[in-house]
Amino acid sequence: MDNGDYPITSLVDAAAAGDEEAWHEIVDRYTPLLGSVIRRFRLATAETEDVVQTVWLRLVEHLDSLREPRALPMWIMTTGKRESMLYLSARRRTVPYDPLDPLWLVSSAEDAEPLADLLHAERHQALLAGLAELPARQRELLLLLVEDPPLSYAQIAQRTAISIGSIGPTRGRALERLRQTFAVRDHLAGPARVPLVSDGAPASTAPQPATWIDRERGDGSDAAPLG
């Protein structure tokens, strides 16, 4: 069995144990999902690069805690979103508050984002996370079927070694499998907001720590006691 056919949990186990090929497969499968999460924040290219590098770097060290099949996509969505929001937070210091500015709309509490946009994003992210769960052959076929400009069945047959006559039925099975993935089933089962805090991802709403630097900067001689 090729890496492309392994379920996510096996890939995570292997990557956590030192298998670099498994890591590459994880990156390939979840790149569209991460791209979709970050895109909503309309960051500049350099900012996007910093965000994706931070998310991947952090993920490498967190694989051990993401062994449940739903954990990895949830972690990627949560971390990608938080790292993107940090740019909004930084910009906020220089941009006056304007409730109609998209920057503020996206960065304010989830419910302030237009509901239609949010549902649209959730729908797309469920499909991209579902796609990542499919075996390689089905994933590749679906990717070829949605290429823009569209490919003919003859071109797809040539690239996949699936005969022209089998493309239709294989497409049907791949889409049925997509409907059965954790991501798509969870999405259809009910609206699930990506929480800002979830197990396996860094928390952001822990109690505020004691303020420990309430003295002159750089003066290390009389540190305040810590909680």
């Binding site: 990156v27 790149t31 999902l33 910093d50 590098q53 060290e61 967190h62 990717l143 889409l175 900067r217």
Partner: protein, 153 residues
């Protein structure tokens, strides 16, 4: 939900939605390229504690627009029994080892540059400037060694 269910029962509809979703996922090549490159940074040292980012005041601020945007950003990395706290101020970062005690801090960037600072006897340290891009801190103390999550300051 009902509408989505109905829509995705149809092969062409679910494929169209997938096509839209992929079309919107921009910068795929860049994202994949960064992902492939980071595995070399994986920590293999079993004795090293991974200190996860457990608090980041910037994220609070995004949620709560009443807070003062000029407050320093506070980050807390937790790895029982050690943690590390950072306060990011304009052009300057200070940190604290918890529980307070001496230690050596090494700042690591994703392009391989590292530099050291010493924490004083009560665990206070001072970083010259604010490093650009993702960084993490390694901290060696008499009670243990930790490495933090990657963050951007």
């Amino acid at each position: 939900m009902g509408v989505t269910q109905h829509r995705w029962d149809d092969d062409q509809h679910i494929l169209d939605d997938l096509s839209d979703a992929l079309g919107e996922a921009a910068l795929a090549d860049t994202i994949a390229e960064y992902g492939q490159g980071v595995y070399a940074w994986r920590t293999v040292d079993q004795d090293l504690l991974l200190a996860s980012l457990s608090f980041d005041s910037s994220l609070e601020r995004v949620q709560d627009r009443r807070s003062d945007p000029d407050d320093p950003r506070v980050l807390v990395f937790t790895a029982s029994p050690l943690s590390l706290e950072l306060e990011v101020m304009p052009g300057h970062v200070v940190g604290q080892i918890v529980p307070p005690g001496p230690g050596e801090i090494r700042v690591e960037t994703a392009d391989g540059v590292t530099f050291h600072v010493e924490a004083d006897d009560v665990g206070f340290f001072d970083l010259p400037g604010i490093p650009h891009g993702p960084i993490r801190l390694r901290c060696d103390t008499p009670t243990g060694r930790l490495v933090t999550d990657w963050v951007r300051l």
